[in-house]
């Protein structure tokens, strides 16, 4: 495949992917750690490397609202945000999904206030979980570049037409310089067909978007949206297959690492998976039966693929980089409810860690797995473990 390998900051690689996608409108408001992406894009537009309208809006609420407008007239639309910005957009996100507007957004995942914290975790995106967006996690800059291109193809596919978030861990991915392969314009043009909304706002074919629904139709609208989101998986998988054939880089809903026949599986999402892999390598070399399962597709949740990935395990240790204050954390809840109807269920223990940018080193992952297994051994898995917390 035509490709050159270069060392570049992930944020700039994301901007490059957006440029290659020949996006029509970018509406964005700056927030750490997303800034390098939108600054990169602004520079491309200013220098004529990207022909797009760049709307320097006055808030994230307006960023996403502008995205609704541009996507609704049939313009390919991109934005990026994080943390407070994402939750300020929140009201608008749900509308994007319900109106079937295929906006692509990168979220450089960051903790939420308070206390104010600019570093990475998944609290921001977890609050967006139920918004109707397709949500995909990546583990490094190359994956971020790849998935942004895939996202346009998935979101704008006529059988999908749903907005899509690519979750990129703040700093741990966004600000890291790594060697990666780019694609050339010809390859991207072949992969990504032009965007056409079947019911765009058009004076020659007037449509009304955004009716209100009475109780007799609201449930049906929500059901229809849920069905579209679930069924988008087909196109997601197809897109990843096509992307793999083009680049040799294949993506799956749930990916495993040395998980076959492992008694204990660690579950992670996002960039910390790479440290987790090192821990697994070391533990396996010491004869421990441990493996890793990484969830890439968060919404629609890949139940079948997940169950298949964990089918042989006895113990599962789930790492959440977000909390649900007063209840179990989101990833673990999802996993427990996926497993509950199964006849043969592994023991599941929930761990929260890596909040607000706190590192989890390979050594820490080893400890974390052992603490989890310790709880399973004494039959006490009801409480979530706050890993490394000082009390």
């Amino acid at each position: 495949m035509t490709a050159k390998r270069i060392g570049i900051e992930s944020s700039l690689a994301i901007a490059e992917a957006v440029r290659l996608a020949n996006v029509d409108v970018i509406a964005a408001y700056p927030i750490t750690p997303q800034t390098h992406i939108v600054e990169g894009l602004a520079e491309m537009v200013a220098n004529g490397h990207l022909d797009a309208e760049y709307i320097p809006v006055e808030s994230e609420h307006s960023a996403m609202s502008s995205c609704l407008g541009s996507s609704a007239v049939g313009a390919r639309t991109f934005t990026a945000t994080a943390s407070q910005g994402l939750i300020l957009m929140h009201e608008v996100l749900l509308v994007a999904a319900s109106l079937h507007l295929p906006i692509v957004m990168v979220v450089t995942n960051r903790a939420l206030s308070g206390p104010l914290n600019i570093w990475g975790d998944h609290s921001d995106t977890m609050i967006t979980r139920d918004s109707g967006w397709i949500q995909i996690f990546v583990e490094n800059g190359q994956q971020a570049f790849d998935q942004v291109l895939c996202a346009f193809r998935i979101a704008e596919h006529q059988d999908v037409l749903l907005p899509t978030i690519i979750n990129v861990d703040g700093f741990h991915i966004s600000h890291v310089i790594e060697p990666m392969y780019f694609l050339d314009q010809e390859a991207v043009d072949g992969f990504l067909p032009p965007y056409k909304h079947p019911h765009a706002l058009d004076p020659d074919k007037p449509v009304t978007m955004g009716c209100f629904a009475m109780p007799n139709l609201y449930t049906e609208s929500r059901k229809a949206l849920d069905t579209s989101l679930r069924e988008s998986k087909k196109v997601i998988l197809e897109t990843w297959k096509k992307f793999g054939e083009m680049t040799g880089r294949y993506y799956k809903e749930v990916e495993t690492y040395k998980a076959e026949a492992a008694e204990t599986l660690l579950i992670t999402m996002g960039s910390y998976s790479e440290n987790a892999m090192e821990a697994i390598d070391k533990m396996q070399s010491e004869g421990r039966s441990v493996g890793l399962v990484r969830i890439r597709l968060w919404r629609p949740f890949p139940y079948m693929a997940f169950l298949e990935a964990v089918s042989g395990a006895k113990n599962i240790v789930v790492l959440d980089r977000a909390m649900s204050l007063g209840g179990p954390p989101p990833v673990c809840s999802e996993i427990r409810s996926a497993l509950y109807p199964q006849e043969k269920r592994p023991q599941v223990v929930s761990v929260v860690g890596g909040l607000g940018g706190r590192d989890i080193s390979p050594d820490d992952f080893e400890k974390l797995i052992d603490i989890g297994l310790g709880r399973i051994k004494i039959g006490d898995t009801s409480e979530t473990i706050m890993f490394g917390v000082r009390e």
Binding site: E53, I55, S62, S65, G69, A72, V92, L201
Partner: protein, 310 residues
């Protein structure tokens, strides 16, 4: 009236872009204003509408009263959505051979405009998007049950600023949105009123000629919220203008023109006494309102006269 029915069809298109059958209250001045706005805009228009009465009365799924492309998303973001529509079309024109000439219009009530949506409106005007913003101002949040807004006039009783033993109702003065819009240095700002169809239409036509943002603020009588008879809509709108309570003017590139310059204003009482929302006001408060109206009216007059002097 008979003469009007002969001439009106020649002056105004009989094409409707907000069709009858919508669910507005009888005597609704807002929908009247919107109807004239749309007649002036014509078919090559995309409307971004804020949440509120006009959205609710016109689009119960699966029905719609709109005959132009129309989008409603939220309460406070009509201007930001319009920004995206305008930018999207610009991009499509430059890159993808799109050739239609479309006017982008954002619309909202006084709440959507002067309160919760003020930031997004200010942002869109400051960025210079080519769009018209229309505020149909019925002086309260009517859709949710007559709660006060920053456009509710002094002395009016609303459900969240009711009159009572210790309150005269609204104790703040009406926010001056036209001045706020003009402070963005936009080319065209105007006020109008739902009782003056030709005024509305000619102002919309002027706004359509502007490249960049323009703002039209239309006082729109709401019999339900103002607690008046529904056959008084037209009369009350006229009284608002004739008493000087709501002067109709334009601000073109910063220059004020008073469109209806009355030699003598009618007493405010003529206007207040027809509305339940002012029923509780005593003579002293009415006198206070009268004085304030003179002040404000003279301010606009002076601004307009200043232009002439130049």
């Amino acid at each position: 009236m008979e003469t009007l029915s002969i001439y009106a069809p020649k002056l105004v298109t009989n094409k409707e872009y907000i069709a009858s059958g919508h669910r507005a209250c009888s005597g609704c001045g807002e929908v009247l204003a919107v109807r004239y706005v749309c007649k002036a805009l014509g078919r090559n228009t995309i409307i971004s509408n804020a949440t509120g009465c006009m959205e609710i009365i016109s689009t119960p799924l699966p029905e719609t009263a709109w005959e132009v492309p129309w989008i409603h998303t939220l309460f406070e973001n009509a201007s930001a959505v319009a920004s995206g529509i305008e930018s999207g079309l610009k991009s499509l024109k430059r890159k993808h051979g799109y050739t239609k000439e479309v006017k982008v219009v954002a619309m909202g009530g006084d709440g959507a405009t002067a309160d919760i949506g003020l930031q997004s409106l200010s942002g869109a005007m400051e960025r210079g998007h080519d769009f018209i913003y229309v505020c149909y101002d019925n002086e309260a949040y009517m859709n949710t049950g007559i709660q006060r807004s920053s456009e509710t006039p002094f002395g009016a009783s609303t459900t969240t600023a009711p009159s009572g033993k210790n309150s005269l109702g609204q104790h703040t003065q009406k926010k001056n949105m036209a001045a706020i819009a003009a402070a963005h240095n936009i080319a065209y700002v105007a006020t109008s009123c739902s009782s003056y169809p030709f005024d509305i239409m000619s102002k919309v036509e002027k706004a359509m000629k502007v490249k960049g943002p323009s703002y039209i603020h239309i006082l729109s009588v709401c019999p339900t919220g103002w607690r008046c008879a529904s056959n008084l809509t037209i009369k009350l709108g006229r009284l608002a203008v004739e008493t000087g309570i709501f002067p109709m003017y334009e601000i073109e590139n910063g220059k004020y023109t008073l469109n209806i310059d009355l030699p003598k204003l009618r007493p405010v009482e003529d206007y207040l006494k027809l509305q339940g929302r002012f029923r509780h006001l005593d003579k002293d408060i009415t006198a206070e309102i009268q004085e304030k109206v003179f002040d404000e009216y003279n301010k606009v007059k002076r601004l307009a006269a200043g232009n002439k002097a130049k």
